[in-house]
Subunit: 287 residues, 2 copies
């Protein structure tokens, strides 16, 4: 269809198939979608990530597929704060994402307001931004290029923890993690420990099968687990046994199909000590 | 009595009137007591804080009364890592401590082992030790010398939060705070907000009455609240209404006597939204 004239008025109706304002980047997805749809409708071409960024900073990232870096930029007006693709979505086909949706509750503090308070009050955030992030960013790009899941996973976990540390260093403190988040983090560490990967390796041991999982939690209690395709079924079963679903048992796993897995007794004993029924609402399996 | 000859063998029996291994410095109290008692028994004189420090680092602080600084020292063997008194216990007679004992559970990770893992893995702890603590230490001494409760309280809260931030930045992460700790921290902030003291003051407003409270949480979920004498009764009543005691209602407040206080309706509405019965086991009121 030919592009609309810009003078045309439109009615916008949006729908989210994700929990909103729960630390799952719903505003990024929403603004990226809005900008893409409007650009196509009106025939706007050119750099759209800068436009999306005005709605919600992280929306610029969501304009591209695969692995995307959001560059801070140098200009005071922020116009060079853009996203670019580090690797396309075909680069690491075995990488999987499991979103553990624990609660549809709204965040205590919105991300943008929270970030501003952190910038104003947290000495640790200043140090993180100046001294820690640049080095970690370069390291993360290398792990992605080399498809090094162990390096990728450990750095993802450490950086997620450090983000939450700076929230706690904010005054008044911001808590995005709750007891259930801690429970899920501990579950991932027990799972990895069982597969012999707890410690920071001094010399790199030969890669065992299956590889471990990596947790990352954003501005909310929902947990995102990175893992490789051949670990998905086993870890999903661990989550199901740890948080037995209440009523919606058949919709507990959504997204890409997940195979069946039966857990060895010693894994169950080591990793799933005491089930908490209903605590995880559902798991979204995606790439 | 004359001192015992060092060849005498002794039987040691100890008892704690505090929860053990719950982030309330029970090992510091225990070792300080042991060293004092043995020194008196055997007639040992001289610098005992260095001896106490060998049992548990923080025990050197507990050898002295009042406000005590534990100096890091410079020597590799640690023999100049000693405590000294900043001000005697008579310096600030209005200052009060309320210990909210929430659970006798053992810590997930002992403080000494946890600290070592943090030193090994947390980039934020390194920055905190090098760049943040020296400045804050000097500031805290000034607040104590000047009996500036507002400065003292805010710095105590921020530094407590930053300690927990470095625990979270440790890998694997250490969590000493749980949902109840967060609940108590939020309660203190609401109480202060109600008394008009939420924000970091840009210019210092005239001091209102009553002054605010300050939370600090150590290596466990129990909370320590600093406040001034004329706020104790009101805040204790706020805690009682927020966490109505179960069976032991008459032993809910221990230590120094606490007067009765009735809470204005608007304070109740603003500060005590939803009571959680039984969550706080008891309050210890001390100086």
């Amino acid at each position: 269809a030919a592009p609309l004239n810009l003078s045309y008025k439109i009615h916008i109706a949006t729908e989210n198939n994700f929990p909103t304002a729960a630390g799952l980047a719903s505003s990024a997805a929403g603004y990226a979608c809005l900008v893409s749809a409007l650009a196509r409708l009106y025939g706007v071409e050119g750099e759209l990530s800068e436009v999306a960024r005005r709605g919600s900073g992280s929306a610029c990232r969501s304009m591209l597929g695969g692995f995307v870096q959001w560059q801070r930029g140098e200009r005071p007006d922020g116009r060079d704060s853009l996203a670019h693709q580090v690797a396309p979505e075909t680069h690491w086909p075995e990488l999987r994402v499991l979103v553990l949706v624990v609660s549809g509750e709204k965040k205590q503090v919105g991300s943008t307001a929270g970030m501003q308070t952190s910038v104003d009050t947290s000495p640790l955030l200043k140090h993180r931004a100046e001294a820690v992030v640049p080095e970690r960013l370069a390291l993360m790009m290398r792990h992605i290029r080399e498809r090094d899941f162990e390096g990728f996973g450990q750095l993802a976990m450490r950086d997620s923890n450090q983000f939450h540390a700076t929230c706690l260093d904010t005054f008044p403190p911001i808590f995005y993690l709750n007891d259930l988040s801690r429970h899920i983090i501990a579950l991932a560490h027990r799972f990895n420990a069982h597969h012999g990967r707890t410690k920071v390796p001094v010399s790199r041991p030969p890669r065992p099968v299956p590889p471990p999982v990596a947790h990352t939690l954003h501005a909310g209690p929902n947990a995102v687990i990175f893992t490789l395709a051949d670990t998905v079924a086993e870890f999903v079963e661990v989550v199901r046994r740890s948080f037995p679903p209440a009523a919606n048992g058949d919709q507990f796993v959504r997204g890409l199909p997940v195979g069946a897995a039966s857990l060895p007794e010693e894994l169950l004993a080591a990793v799933v000590p005491e089930p908490v029924p209903g605590a995880v609402r559902y798991i979204l399996h995606t790439k």
